[in-house]
Subunit: 345 residues, 3 copies
């Protein structure tokens, strides 16, 4: 499939300059794009890269408007524009609807006629799969799970019983939705399991990365609101709530009953304590541990800067002695004040 | 299924007060429980919440004995009591025994007649599945694996060949037991794999969370003793031993040959170095790195407190210069002692 | 299968001393090896352990040459030698070639006659499986994936469409290759997905651990070069390149477009920022966050030393006040210089 530049600006807007009739069939990075591909430059400082590019067309920020004669689309947000063009040129494959003969669908499950159930998928009793949704090979949809329309479960996904997914949800391979939370009571040193009777409820347009795990609630539900994007290898514990349109990078862990606001951005390998609340529009840096509620937007960090190992060794010994160092400073202040007193006297 | 309060105290003990004949059919949080549900309050400080509750009955600590007229069970450990009541009211589903026609069981495997093998499960040659054990959809039990009685493998679990599980073991989706440890010899820069010929051996009443991985031993076995509870996304390397009734929160990593005591509690995203030993009853905080053996019970921590990012930037520069700061303090001490000496002279 | 010591030294070299005709059928640790097993001692300091060993033969470093009368092979790198002997004595099981009747192979896929496709495996349209490669139970090989020869995919592995694997690649259970990278453009607070149109390309002799995830590239490919060894639970983001023969321990995360050199060794739970470059032969310690490019070999660390919790509390308060502490030192230096000035005057 190829598109002319006027066809593209008709769909997505932007100012088209110096069109030469090229038809675009793909996207590529500026340095590798060929004459039938479109590339983008996100910021003015990278505009120098376009000189040597072979791209058939470019998506540029306003600063690139007057640079050169090449066919180009000028827009305030080139990266977003590029996302749209790329989605147009790389539509998700839509497999033929129907249930593969090697899938196992419980007779009491409801599968929309336009949905696709791949080989080896297992759909439990009472589950419901919406229009045009795809359940990938060897994925398992538990009893009484509800999937909305246009969902995409890649291969080897697991959804436990009674969980609820909205529409246009994407789950990547190895991810697990609705596993039991880590709920244990202690009886003289031994652990007694607390049945986890809540659900995991996932809103529209959520994407969940590979091997990310979302536990079901203990009594209430775990809730992932609409538009949330979760990267790979994230752990979401029971009763967590993640607000709409928050994005969380890989390897992050969120402990039980934490409430995270909307429009947050959480860096990789962050850890969020349980039972705390994080305001809307908070940013958390990579590797940061959040131990208390955050009531105001802003960026929060606790990462330790790295050093060459020998230098680190020299500094690390003091990390365990900061209280003594602080005490020595206090002592010095006392002594110097005494000296200054005598001096003045 | 519903139970009267006398039926509940007959099973689990506790002091029943002001019974009004209510029959309880479910558990719920205090603020959401209805007239046929039972709720609990774990600590005296939360007793104020019960005034407005609609719960049909309450499980309370001794301090709640004389609070109001509502039907209530008084017990020393309400959370534990609640765990038992919840298990009674929410029994794990017991699917019909038998091998689903879409499961693949090797003719030389032994499956108890009371066990359940779900659709898509694969049971290898020489494997043995005990009484009433359940192997979930698309789970794979390798050659010569032994599963005890009453085990529950959720969907998409993997157990490698020759591993041994006790009874009442629960494995959540995506977890992997018995994968090869990271054993490599180096030959002029290239890595040569060391065959991992030990097993992973898992005791009775162990629960393993979603996407947790437990490697098999290199020569000896990796051992998870009875009653251990592992949350999601934990990595247990080869030859690790985890003592009985230890609980480990999500995202923790334990390096090769570490020995962890019994009755330990290890916080989320902790990292334990290899070849060290941790005593019984140790507690390790979230995000803490343990680099040396711990010979005594206690709580150990190495988390870095977070700050607002600007403040963090101002402090972080000094983290790499602590040795110089300490040197400046030492120098000041010398100079002030000199001044003080002159003063006295 | 059993081998004489002369047979072993003929294959792998080394100096054989005091052979008594023993035939070796297995490997074991020094303290547990029996009369038909061979054990190894990697370093001179452990040579004292061999006195009480029941091992039928030993693999020793040069310092052990003259210790005792027991049959022994002396070699410069006993651990490497042991790796080779163990591989000889513990050959990987080679299942019968062929496609299990419960596997699902697309008619347009190409599977070598010597390859093995286990029960429940699903091979997509246009995929190609090389000679003697094994696809384990319930693993999924996506459309147009290419697998070289002698690959081993354990159970429940997932490879997304169009990815490319070299020969002798080992993928452990739960690992995911080729999932979408975390590519999102922001439109007034909402996230718009960027199609991930690159591939994951994995070289010869790579091993990938359980539940490790390797995202496909956004436009270009994610590349894992030959001989790389990845432990469990690692996250490799889109467009990362990992150089040949680098080994990475468990729970590490590598952000998008990071380039890691060859022959690096990266400790567990390290985090590597995106868009940085790490030179060849760099070592990174456990739990270390690398935020900038590393242009020279060396060891780099940012781990925070742990303490008993009370001590940690006393020190931690100063971590957030280092800038103030440093300011107080500066102030003291000023005041003492003033005093010293007056003293001299």
């Amino acid at each position: 499939m190829a598109y002319s530049l006027p066809e593209i600006v008709t769909r997505f807007g932007g100012e088209l300059l110096d069109d030469n009739g090229v038809r675009i069939s793909g996207v590529a990075p500026v340095e590798r794009a060929g004459p039938r591909e479109i590339a983008f430059v996100s910021q003015a400082k990278y505009l120098r890269d376009i000189e040597s590019s072979q791209a058939g067309a470019l998506i540029l920020p306003p600063e690139g408007r007057d640079g050169g004669r090449r066919p180009r689309i000028v827009t305030a947000n080139p990266y977003l524009y590029f996302a749209r063009v790329s989605s147009l040129l790389n539509p998700a494959p839509q497999p033929a609807p129907g249930i593969h003969p090697a899938a196992v669908v419980h007779p009491q499950a409801r599968v929309a006629a336009s949905a696709t159930i791949a080989a080896g998928a297992v759909i439990g009793e009472g589950a419901s799969i919406g229009e045009r949704s795809i359940v990938g090979p060897n994925s398992v949809v538990g009893e009484h799970v509800t999937l909305g329309d246009d969902c995409l479960l890649h291969a080897n996904v697991t959804i436990y019983h009674h969980c609820v997914l909205g529409s246009r949800v994407i789950l990547h391979s190895g991810c697990v939705v609705g596993s039991d939370g880590f709920g244990l009571a202690n009886e003289q040193g031994r652990w007694v399991k607390i049945p986890q009777v809540g659900r995991a409820v996932i809103g529209d347009d959520v994407e969940v990365g590979a091997c990310t795990t979302i536990d079901r609630g203990a009594l209430d539900d775990t809730v992932i609101e609409e538009g949330v994007k979760l990267d790979n290898q994230i752990q979401v514990a029971h009763n967590v709530r993640i607000g709409a349109h928050t994005a969380i990078a890989a390897c992050t862990g969120i402990a039980g009953s934490a409430k995270i606001g909307s429009y947050c951005m959480i860096g990789g390998a962050a850890m969020i304590h349980g039972h705390i609340e994080i305001a809307d529009k908070v940013r958390i840096s990579t590797n940061t541990l959040i131990t208390k509620s955050l009531t105001r937007p802003g960026t929060y960090t606790s990462a330790l800067p790295f050093s060459e190992h020998g230098e680190w060794l020299r500094n690390a010994v003091h990390l365990r002695n900061l209280d003594k160092l602080a005490g020595r400073i206090k002592e010095l202040e006392k002594r110097i004040a005494e000296l200054e007193g005598k001096e003045q006297a």
